[in-house]
Structure formats: structure tokens, C-alpha cells
């Protein structure tokens, strides 16, 4: 088939293959392959340029699946998140994608919708793609029998040469990049006490969600240092989402906030949901009731009053996960990123 024919038959045309390129350049496929990959060392310069010219002419793109199967490895990294449309995860995703692209990998993304069952299915299906790395950024939920299955699945993946990295899940036997949830929450408590707060309420997501539990206990520990504690009735449990925070705050309002001075929500989206509920109830956040969160997601500075929180370098979390996965380091390292308390107007100094 001549070039002109190819160019004219514009529909249903097959994409050019390496054979086409080789034929057009007048060399064998082996030579064409060598010329297109780095191995130009062993190909005569003239042939290299002929192949390159032919490839450009035919608008050739190597079939990545074919390469993957021939080489035995792909150039993709898979990311599993609970929900892309949550600023916490989208920030992590941005970090993962940036680091992956920098390493010449393309990122795939799957969403669990916060279902451990779905997470398991996804990881299993992902193995079929043979990604270089699988990065899981859901929130681990204890007590579902699924934990063991997930471990088994990721183990199978790793023993086949893949690399699994978990974000914010230190207790699984895999590499992980973690947040000092306990320490960050404790420090936040300490600084809020310093700022004059004494009467706290907390919105958390239940102790089966490890992140929530660590932040709850960290905060409690920080308070205890000053002899303070949160009464049981002011420990509100809700979903780990904006809607959860909103619902919990409504319950608090309905029960009467009494002397409560400040509400700590174990993450920013819950805190923002709570602020909305307070505002609806006619309470001005930061004046009638202070609020603090955790994560420092992007919108935290845009709510009014700006949200006091514990900053977590989310993009870096994602980027580090990719770096660990690609480091070739066989150890199940668990690195930890630093956190920093950020006091903003949602928790003004008292007195």
C-alpha cells in the first residue's frame, strides 16, 4: 500500500505499526525497533534517521500494550482513591500524577466510593494491568473482613514484581507514606488551649477509621496535658465527609451548644460542613463558636472565617508515594511527612 493511498483512505485506517515503519524505511523491524529505542548505538546513523523520518511521516506511535507484553512491564502507575471530587484526594492525586509523569509513567485512577469491598475489587482488577506501582489512598476501615483479602491481593501483586504503596495506612505490611495524625492533633489541642479555649467538642468518624481514631486520641492527649477532656456527650460521630460534619453539627446545635467554645472536626471537609450547619443555625463561626479541622485542604483558606487546621503536605504525600514505589527499595519503608498547626480566624484567641 503506497503512502498516498494510506493518506487518502482516511477512515477505518489502521494505525501504523512498526512493520509499516520498517518497510517505509527499507530496514527490518528489528532495526526499526532498535532505532526507535535508545539502542541507536548499534544502528548506522543513516538508518536511524531514515527510521525516524518514516515514523514521523506515518505518525507512528508504538502500541504500548504490545511493548508491555514484549518487555514484560508497563509504564503506568495506578492510583486508588476514595473520591476524586474531594479536595483531600484530588490534592494527593495531583501529586501522584505529577510525580508519575516526571518518571515517564502515565497514571490511572480508580475510585472506591469509600467502599472497602469496591477497593478490593479494584485492586484485583488492577493487577491485570500490571502497573509498575499501585498507590492506595483510601482510608483504612478496620473490622471488615476485607483487610486480609486486600493484603493477600497486594502481596500477590508485589511478588509478581509490582510495588504497592499505601498513603496514610501505616499498619499494613507494605510501604507507606504516613501523616503524624496523633502528633498533629495533639499539637493542635495544645495550641488551642494556649489560645484560651477550654470547652471542646469533637466531630469524628468513629474509631474503626484509623485516621479518625488517631486524630481523636491525639487531640485528647493534647488536652489532657492541661487537665482538660471532652465530655462524652460532646463527642459526635459521623461520616468522614462534608455531609457527615454537617449532620453532626446539626445534632450539636439541636442539643444546644451550651458552653462549648470550639469544635474540632477530625478533617477539614467535616469542619467545613459543620461551619455550614452552624451558620444555618444563626451561629457565626469564629465568633459564636470556633472551629478547627485537619488537613489544610485548598478551600480551608477560602471559607470565612478561614479555617484553623493542621497542615498536611498533600501533594507531597502523593509524590512521595510514587518516589518510594519507583525507588527500587525492597524494604517496606514507612516514611512520615511533617504536619504543622495553622491557626486562622475560625479560632481567634479568646479574651
Amino acid at each position: 500500500m503506497s503512502r498516498v493511498e494510506r493518506a487518502t483512505a482516511d477512515t477505518g485506517r489502521q494505525p501504523a505499526t512498526l512493520h509499516d515503519v520498517a518497510r517505509a524505511a527499507g530496514v527490518s523491524v528489528a532495526t526499526a525497533s532498535r532505532a526507535l529505542n535508545g539502542s541507536s548505538r548499534n544502528v548506522r546513523a543513516e538508518n536511524v534517521s531514515r527510521v525516524l523520518a518514516a515514523a514521523a511521516e506515518l505518525n507512528y506511535e508504538p502500541h504500548l500494550s504490545a511493548q508491555a507484553i514484549a518487555r514484560g512491564s508497563t509504564r503506568t502507575a495506578a492510583l486508588v482513591v476514595a473520591d476524586v471530587d474531594d479536595p483531600y484526594f484530588s490534592a494527593i492525586a495531583a501529586g501522584v500524577i505529577a510525580a508519575a509523569e516526571e518518571a515517564g509513567l502515565i497514571a490511572t485512577m480508580a475510585v472506591t466510593a469509600r467502599s472497602p469491598q469496591r477497593e478490593l475489587e479494584i485492586v484485583k482488577a488492577l493487577r491485570g494491568h500490571r502497573p509498575r506501582a499501585i498507590i492506595v489512598a483510601g482510608s483504612r476501615v478496620d473490622g471488615t473482613g476485607i483487610r486480609e483479602d486486600l493484603i493477600e491481593e497486594l502481596d500477590a501483586y508485589q511478588s509478581a514484581g509490582g510495588r504497592a504503596v499505601l498513603i496514610s495506612q501505616p499498619d499494613l505490611p507494605f510501604a507507606a507514606v504516613c501523616v503524624d495524625n496523633f502528633g498533629g492533633a495533639r499539637q493542635l489541642a495544645v495550641e488551642l488551649v494556649d489560645a484560651g479555649y477550654r470547652r471542646f467538642a469533637m466531630i469524628h468518624a468513629g474509631d474503626r477509621i484509623q485516621t479518625s481514631r488517631d486524630r481523636r486520641t491525639g487531640f485528647a492527649t493534647g488536652l489532657r496535658r492541661s487537665g482538660l477532656a471532652i465530655p462524652d456527650g460532646l463527642l459526635l460521630e459521623a461520616e468522614f465527609t462534608r455531609a457527615g460534619g454537617y449532620a453532626a453539627a446539626r445534632r450539636l446545635v439541636a442539643a444546644g451548644i451550651g458552653h462549648t467554645e470550639i469544635v474540632f472536626a477530625v478533617n477539614d471537609v467535616m469542619a467545613i460542613g459543620a461551619m455550614a450547619a452552624f451558620r444555618e443555625a444563626g451561629l457565626v463561626p469564629g465568633r459564636d463558636i470556633a472551629v478547627a479541622g485537619f488537613d489544610d485542604i485548598a478551600p480551608a483558606v477560602d471559607v470565612d472565617p478561614a479555617l484553623t487546621t493542621v497542615a498536611v503536605p498533600l501533594q507531597q504525600l502523593g509524590a512521595d508515594a510514587v518516589r518510594i514505589a519507583l525507588s527500587g527499595d525492597e524494604q517496606a519503608v514507612a516514611i512520615s511527612v511533617p504536619t504543622a498547626v495553622v491557626l486562622r480566624e475560625s479560632s481567634p484567641r479568646r479574651r
Copy 2:
């Protein structure tokens, strides 16, 4: 190899292949393949169960790259966005991923960082993956020579059997799902005039960004209906981001807001940036100066005052794009999603 041995030899083990499964089940690869795909119709029930059992036993996952090359098609859909960590795009991404998963596809995601050059490179590289669909959700920028190259690239992709769908880019010769930017902005202008506003300023992103241009002209048209117009000096141009909106609002404040009653920013992230700048300057948004945006991104309800805007069903935008791509419809359809003005506290009725 017995199960126990497999379980012990835990490292460097190769994942099971179809051959392994076939051997374990005592059938040929052909039969194994048939048993595992839907074609169980032509396989004796006993063999089907033997194969299934063997597959489960070996924890077999088909090599998707191998399937792709054998079948000639993949089960992935590729999404290209300007920035995942922008609520506008993350909402679209959520829609795309959900619809893709529903269709049994896994989504891949690449980020252009708002560079047309990068977008072109990405689309080109993506062709190598042979995705079923490529969905591009950047904002088209006119005047870069790159437009033609992108068209050519997507054309090559489509004539090889792929399906390209653009989000919010009606003027390219491809299927598209669009937003009525002009009409939405015009209606917003009308309703703001109804609400008593007369003196407007606008923050836009320059006419080379089509979305911005359409919203600008739509808004102007809506004002003209009442004989109003925005003076040139109050048309602020800035980047299509939160930072851009912030910077433009600072310029406005520096020049003195004079009698300006309300600022329309051509998207919500810019509007939110502007609100931050106003607040910093000691102006209370919604009282000293009203603000309106466009898109109705998730954070729009959480800023205070809540943002008046034009709602765009972002998730649906993404989901529709996938549906069109998979519809098998060869026509370069351009569907349009509805918009709706949402008046909130950032633009209280005047008088």
C-alpha cells in the same frame, strides 16, 4: 507446583498465565480462554468449573495488555484535564470515572497544567495506549498554532477507531459536550439587574480563552438588554485561576472600587480568589461589594457569603462525554447541558 509451595516461594514469582490455568485444569488454553470469557456456552460445564477453580486457585488475572493486543482493543478511557486539583476539573473527572467504571472501563488521567503544548504531547502519547476514548477537558486557547496539530492528532486517533470527545469546546471538529456559556452568563446578568444591580465590573481571562469570551459577551448582552454596560476600565483580565481572580481584584481595589456594586468573575475559582482579595482589603463581600461567578463548583456554597453563580452539572458533563464516546454514534454530535442561575448571599437584593 503445589499450592503450598507457591504460597511459600513468595518473592519473584511470576503471575499465573492462562497456560498455567489450562494446565492446572487439564484442558487446552483455547478451552481455558473460552471458559473464562462469556463463551462458556460452548464449553462443557464440568470443564468450565475446573477452569474457574484453577483460576481462583492460582489467583489468576488475565494480562490486560495481552488481551488488548490479541483482541485489538483495550478497556480504558483516557481523560485529559488542565489540573485535577481544581474543583471544576475534579468534578468532571468524578463524572468521567464513574461512567467509565460503569461501562467496565478503567480511566486514565493526564494533566496538562494548562499548557496547550503539553496537551498536544499528552494526546499524542495517549494514542499509544489505544484507549477506547480520549476525553479532553482543558480550556481551548485560540491563537496558538497548536490547535491544528491537536486536530490532526485526534483525527489520526479517530481514524484508527478511537473516539475523541471534547468538553466545553464546541468549535473543534469532534464530538463535544458543551455548556451554554453565553446564555448562562446573559441570564445571570439579567437576574442581577432584576436584583437591583446597576454598576458592574468583570474579571475575565481574555478573549483567547473561548469559555471566558463567551461568558463575557453573554454577560454584556444581558446587561445591554437594560441599557447597561461595563466601562472598559472595569474589565479586568487575569489568569483563569483563583490566583488570577485574586490578582485582578487587588488591582480593582488599588484603583478604587468607586461606585462599583458587583463584580462578575467568569468562573467560580476566580470569584473566590476575588472574594479573598476584597476581604483582605477590608471589604466585606456581599455587603460592601457583591460577587458572582460561574460553574457552581462544590466550594461555592461553603465560602461566606455563599457565591452567586451559574450552575453547571459538572459531573454530568464528564459522564455524558463518556456516554457519547461509547455510544458508537459516528456523528460528531455536540450536546449541550443546561445551566441555571443560582442567586446566593454574595449578591443580596439591593434596596
